[in-house]
Symmetry: C2
């Protein structure tokens, strides 16, 4: 089938998904999880072919993201079961207003309709996105990377088996067969068919979607996250948070890329930062952090001189750009100029500085004395996530079930006229 035909078939079942009860949606999720486990062998065979074919063209890191194991499939199934156990995101009364004339106005959460997702090589995105979508009464149209197509087909078949088992339409989870650029463009421009497009992957993919989408699109992911160490910071906290934010998982979007230090504490703290992120890590046999320093910091500790782009780069690696700032306002201004609006932290014991920073910093997550690494649906108590929005409309920060719903007003009268 062409992408257009697949999309049209998916749109047709929107009403059925909207009308399904929570009990049916949860039963479908459990059946989807069971089917994933039952079909482990087929999924692994398909995956082996994908890995074999991709070996020549993609990096080892990408191969690792692509490769499945029995344990990874079990984890995918568990994630689907976890989604089934979460509270019903639909039919929640968000607001209620009874007018003096008796007209009752209710704002109620409802599915969005058709969610399209364009993503890269990780096959677990296929089952995660499908699970979140079924739970929220939406139809999902999934367009994964070409390296994962055999794996995704096998996973989608299992998921459809689960939908069919409870009588839900199998097109509610539609895997786009064409993995060329054309199919991505078709989804981006399917006005009136795709209600929301969510790109998930590298910066290039996300930029392409945001720039070319004619349908509503949520910008996700890119994180140039800052840690600002104030003059009133507790030094030990600052060091522990900085090391955690930079090194606990450098490849993810909530890892810190930039450290700003108040000039009053730069001379005392920078040598300790060097010790913590470089010397000590070498001694402990860990990967040391490469420091890229502005002019002032370079006078105090050793490191590479920061180039023009180092304060605007999502390194996703053991690299940290460091700048010394005049004061809190300069830190806030630096963040406003260079941040992607993902996550930023202030380390300080000074309440005025906390208030000023949390008020002025315009990012999805603003931290006080904590690591930026917590920006995640699970960590925030949302149960799961579809990605992290760095835009301000509709959803900001981790997108859980709520963010995959819209709302409508239901107004009940007894012949009310105006």
């Amino acid at each position: 089938m062409t992408t257009a035909e697949q999309l049209s078939s998916a749109v047709l079942v929107k009403g059925q998904m909207m009308a399904a009860t929570q009990a049916v949606r949860n039963a479908a999720l459990l059946a989807m999880a069971d089917a994933l486990e039952r079909r482990t062998e087929e999924i692994l065979s398909a995956n082996a072919l994908d890995v074999e074919a991709a070996r020549a063209s993609i990096s080892d890191v990408m191969i690792d993201r692509l490769r499945l194991s029995e344990a990874r499939i079990a984890a995918m199934a568990d994630a689907v079961r976890k989604v089934a156990s979460l509270p019903d995101p639909l039919g929640r009364i968000l607001q209620e207003y009874k007018r003096e004339d008796g007209l009752l106005i209710r704002k109620v959460s409802v599915p969005i309709g058709v969610l399209a997702m364009i993503y890269e090589s990780r096959p677990n995105v296929t089952s995660d996105a499908a699970a979140l979508s079924v739970k929220t009464g939406n139809v999902c149209v999934l367009r994964g990377g070409k390296e994962a197509i055999r794996t995704n087909r096998a996973i989608a078949l299992a998921l459809k088996e689960g939908l069919a088992a409870v009588g839900l339409p199998t097109d509610a989870v539609t895997l786009i067969e064409d993995t060329s650029r054309e199919s991505a463009t078709a989804l981006m421009t399917a006005v009136g068919q795709v209600d929301l497009l969510i790109p998930r992957g590298g910066a290039g993919l996300i930029r392409a979607c945001v720039e070319n989408a004619k349908v509503p699109c949520i910008e996700t992911g890119t994180g140039i996250c800052h840690i600002y160490i104030d003059k009133d910071a507790d030094p030990e906290r600052a060091l522990a948070i900085l090391e955690n934010a930079k090194t606990s998982r450098p490849s993810v979007c909530n890892a810190a890329e930039v450290c700003l230090i108040h000039k009053d504490v730069a001379e005392a703290l920078l040598p300790k930062i060097y010790d913590r992120l470089v010397s000590r890590r070498i001694a402990e046999g860990k990967v040391p952090v490469e420091l890229r320093l502005d002019g002032t910091a370079a006078k105090i500790i050793k490191g590479k001189a920061a180039g023009e782009k180092d304060f605007d780069t999502e390194f996703l690696d053991y690299i940290l750009a460091i700048a010394v700032v005049e004061d809190l306002s300069s830190a806030i201004a630096h963040i406003a100029a260079h941040s992607t609006g993902h996550s930023e932290a202030i380390i300080t014991q000074n309440q005025d500085a906390i208030d000023a920073f949390t008020l002025a910093v315009d990012s999805a997550a603003v931290y006080v004395n904590a690591s930026t690494r917590f920006t995640d649906g699970g960590e925030f108590g949302l149960g799961c996530e579809m990605g992290i929005s760095t835009q301000k409309m509709h959803a900001r920060g981790p997108m859980g079930l709520c963010e995959l719903t819209s709302y409508k007003y239901i107004i009940v009268g007894e012949g009310h006229i105006r």
Copy 2:
């Protein structure tokens, strides 16, 4: 100044608006209202020039929308004062989650940043939009129609006077001086500067914005609203609601354009509808409704035969398209195919029909035994509105103060790392 220069100046004051307290924002609103009244004479003089210049090129209806009077300016000032009296939309704690490890996660409402508005000839939009924007801590960039430019300049001057009186930056309300197509395009494509674009006006303007905007844009307004009269409708209610929804103000977006009638009651009800909307209105000296009938209805009452486009047209006039449908499902399917997602109503005494209709109809406002004319921020208890969203992302239905805010997470730890 060029549009680009004006926009850059506006962006610069975003931080100041974000940091202003509620007391200052409300004081600004009261000063803005006072300045509007104090400058009534200047505004009326400017308006007289606009009306004079526009007389040759625009319709009487448009002239009426453009023309101000002392009373209309007083009403504008009162609307600004009303906005000042509403609860603070910022700093609301939308969710709070304290983890077992003590990390406190708060979701807090914040300004969006820079709102751009492209609108047509009604000058009160200038003061309404500015008031809502100041109340929500946003900066607004207003690009009105060229017919109203002198009036808008005089109004903007008064509004800026109010901002200056309390020490807020006057660029927080920026009226774009260039009223050519180029300035509209500049706002639509100002990625990274305009956080949200709201078009307000005719269908052509809205379509142009939705199709060409590179910045987030909210689709507003167009309403092809349906009244479905079920087989179990109370006939008297049905007639009263239909007449109200069609005739109480036909030029607005929440007026009904289409009536669907269940076939079992068509023969009994259609003659009564004819009587109510045509004969009786003629007898009472009111404007009768022109009926455009599908084949089945045309066999029962007199009226024009409905053409191909009559079920897809926002008449905004004393015209009603009528179709007889097989059953409730056919009515729902007709609405899904032809509605703009604004407001639809079912008239019935049957609870099963109510449940099915409210579940399946995917519009911003779904009415039970009430007129569609209630879809309005004021009527819904929101205090005011910026327009009515017909899209599903971010805002749906009337956009009040809440819909002009975003949120961020503020996370407070004591050295928490992950």
